[in-house]
């Protein structure tokens, strides 16, 4: 662990923002809390994906499989076999990590290129959706409904809108720290060298399979855990959303739009994009259904044209132009 990491966890700015969010949650209305919780869950999902998508540069489109495992299998284990959801969360995370390692194995065994890896994982994503839809134990295409939350933490219940917001905020915070930790660790360094030049990395003794497998396992387990929380938060566990490859694509969209060179990228992008799309649909969706999605599309195109490296580098540029020498820049240079 390099000293940069300890700098980050001691950063008053980071904790200031997190405390600000937590305090705002105290006053927010249930509608806005719901959107804020969703935002935090998307931050968690995007950060989990960024460990393979950003650091290791592997475009996995199969992450919906891990979300589905965490959400549907953990719920099914609880509903059908009475297994506590905390236990289910751990089991599903472990299973996801195993599947992640399997993907990494395929990648190294058949030395897949980036594109082949992306498409193979997309096919696995589709297969995952089909298996969920055909598997009665996890509710098939109909999904599962969890019993009403009674606020018993030991049963993985967080007690109402505010509780879920804080749980999701805590999860997103932990994931942000994990990302920084990996970024500044030996693993993060190895992953970046493998991403940038695999042959050269191998020549100096960096094992591709071992490092990529570790990254994939961590990312898959994190995704699964976020899936379990998503399931408990939404109460009705909807496979057409939580198991669909479209969700993978959504996660990738958020992660990359933010910029993959810093863990702040996925976080900031989710904070901008998720509320933007939800509030806009609430505002316009009744009168002109579809218009909000069009504006959302334009926003994405505009951000990418303005800054092909992502939203955070763009923000950094803007702040720098205004005279400030921004911290995020430094963190990026270190990270990149």
């Amino acid at each position: 662990m390099r000293p940069e990491f300890f700098g980050i966890i001691r950063s008053p700015f980071l904790w200031g923002v997190i405390v600000l969010f937590a305090v705002l949650g105290q006053w927010a209305s249930p509608y806005h809390l719901g959107i804020a919780t969703q935002t935090m869950l998307y931050i968690a999902l995007a950060l989990a994906w960024a460990i393979v998508g950003g650091f290791a540069g592997q475009l996995s489109i199969a992450h919906n499989v891990f979300v589905a495992l965490g959400a549907l299998l953990a719920s099914a284990l609880f509903l059908r076999l009475g297994i506590n959801m905390w236990v289910g969360l751990v089991l599903c995370a472990a299973l996801s990590a195993l599947i992640g390692v399997f993907f990494a194995y395929l990648d190294s065994k058949f030395s897949l290129g980036h594109l082949s890896f992306a498409l193979v994982t997309l096919a696995f994503g589709e297969v995952g959706m089909l298996i969920v839809a055909g598997w009665d134990f996890v509710g098939g295409a109909s999904g599962l409904s969890l019993p009403r939350d009674q606020g018993r933490l030991l049963n993985f219940e967080f007690g109402g809108a505010r509780g879920y917001f804080w749980a999701a905020l805590a999860l997103a915070t932990v994931y942000l720290l994990i990302n920084y930790a990996i970024l500044h660790s030996r693993l993060g360094f190895y992953l970046r060298t493998l991403r940038d030049n695999e042959a050269a990395a191998q020549a100096v003794g960096v094992y591709p399979f071992r490092n990529k497998a570790i990254a994939m396992a961590i990312s898959a387990a994190m995704t699964s855990v976020a899936g379990t929380l998503y399931a408990r938060f939404s109460n009705f566990v909807d496979p057409s959303f939580l198991a669909s490859p479209t969700l993978s694509i959504e996660i990738i969209l958020i992660a990359t739009i933010g910029g993959l060179t810093t863990p702040l990228g996925p976080a900031v992008a989710a904070i901008v994009l998720v509320p933007f799309s939800e509030l806009l649909r609430g505002w316009l969706g009744g009168q002109l259904p579809g218009l909000s999605h069009i504006i959302y599309g334009f926003l994405i195109v505009a951000v990418i044209l303005a800054s092909p490296r992502g939203l955070v580098p763009l923000l950094v540029k803007i702040f720098r132009q205004r005279g400030g020498k921004d911290v995020a820049t430094i963190s990026m240079q270190k990270g990149a």
Partner: protein
């Protein structure tokens, strides 16, 4: 060095604070004594947008009429004000919008197409804020505040279809024994399929095989070939409009009409099928050995339905015909009018109680469904009478009701 701890970073704070401000509650709007605010939550975009786009105009049309005719009389002529929202065909999005309608817009109740998954996602919110929600079409009603005008998969869909097959054998000299199950592979299709399997086995039919249809596929030739290889007398199941279109194209091109097709709802009964298939394929594939299960049909001889159909046709967009989604929308509006008259108040619990008491009897001018038992909710918050109708198509694109007998406009015909 402290990367994020750098002092200049304070510059980022205002931006983040501004975003965070969006989380703050918007002050609730003062309630006008002369209006009742109703949240309308339909799937207007996404994969199920056709349901919302058909149901909403009919719903709005009837609500406009209610307002023109003097509003809610028990509330001193209060007008109904609609707050519109889009569920984007996704359960999670439906939940978010329901939260907005209830907590931000202060509506007294929420109504909408709300397919079963959307209903399941909205019901915890209805319970949490003790706000009644009415779904046009969900196959169940979970929780205390959810009501649905839809038909349950088992005692609505499966029961009507199986009893109809028995009726065909008994009274119309069909000899249907071997049954195949042909259904769209999604939530509704799978649930109806399970219920059908149970009821068919109990009734002594021989199930010869299953043909699940991939929801997003246009070409169903191979599925039709599989059905052919099963040598079934009849195929039953819930089928989506897109899958229905694919099946009928395959039926036409393979010239395979031996197996009687029975199913629904929209995939076998929506007039949009004719638009999608064209006249020639429609006439060949829809008008023989096919019976559709529907919530209701514009073929009804009931005067209230005929009048409504005429009015809706006059207001519909060019080239759009009226299907069951429109009738469900109109019926939802009339039901809400009755409920509000009964409640006499915008109080959410009084409205919930009114839902439990309301009854639109058979023969009432406001009943647009052919149900002997009229429309009222049982303890499960689903319609007490949950019998659908079975229809068959005529070459002029209109329908005949063939079941139940008291509403039949023609006998079921077996044309090979």
């Amino acid at each position: 060095m402290t990367v994020l701890g750098h002092l200049r970073c304070v510059r980022l704070l205002p931006a983040l604070a501004a975003i965070a401000l969006m989380l703050l509650p918007v002050a609730g709007k003062a309630e006008d004594a002369k209006t009742v605010r109703i949240g309308v939550l339909d799937s207007m975009t996404g994969v199920f947008s056709d349901f919302g786009q058909q149901g909403r105009p009919a719903f709005q049309y009837v609500i406009d009429k209610v307002n023109k005719d003097g509003g809610i009389k028990s509330m001193g002529g209060a007008k109904i004000e609609l707050v519109l929202a889009d569920s984007a065909s996704q359960a999670g999005r439906a939940a978010t919008e329901a939260r907005r309608l209830i907590t931000q817009e202060n509506v007294s109740l929420v109504v909408g197409v709300l397919l079963t998954p959307e209903m399941l996602a909205v019901s915890p919110i209805a319970d949490e804020f003790k706000t009644p929600v009415l779904s046009h079409s969900a196959a169940g009603a979970r929780g205390d505040y959810m009501f649905s005008m839809g038909l349950p998969y088992d005692r609505g869909y499966a029961k009507t279809m199986v009893e109809f097959v028995q009726e065909l054998n008994k009274s119309h000299k069909f000899n249907l024994k071997n049954v195949a199950l042909v259904y769209s592979n999604y939530e509704a299709g799978q649930q109806v399929n399970k219920a059908l399997q149970r009821r068919l086995t109990e009734a002594g039919f021989n199930i010869v095989g299953e043909v699940p249809l991939e929801l997003q596929s246009d070409d169903q030739t191979a599925a039709m070939l599989r059905l052919k290889s099963l040598n079934a007398d009849v195929a039953l199941g819930q089928v989506s409009p897109r899958n229905g279109t694919g099946l009928f194209r395959a039926r036409y091109s393979l010239g395979f009409f031996d197996t009687v097709l029975i199913g629904g709802t929209a995939g076998y009964t929506d007039p949009v099928l004719w638009k999608d298939l064209g006249d020639k394929i429609g006439q060949a594939a829809l008008t023989r050995n096919l019976f559709g299960f529907a919530f209701s049909s514009t073929a009804s001889r009931t005067p209230s339905v005929q009048k409504l159909t005429e009015e809706l046709r006059a207001t519909a967009k060019q080239g759009h015909d009226i299907g069951q989604s429109a009738i469900q929308g109109a019926q939802a509006a009339r039901l809400i009018q009755r409920v509000l008259e009964l409640a006499g108040s915008t109080d959410r619990d009084k409205i919930k109680a009114a839902f439990e008491q309301v009854k639109i009897p058979s023969g009432d001018a406001d009943l647009y469904l052919d149900r002997v038992g009229g429309l009222s909710f049982g303890p499960d918050h689903m319609p007490n009478d949950s019998t659908g109708v079975m229809i068959q198509w005529k070459a002029d694109k209109s329908q005949d009701i063939v079941y139940p007998a008291q509403y039949a406009t023609a006998p079921p015909s077996a044309k090979k």
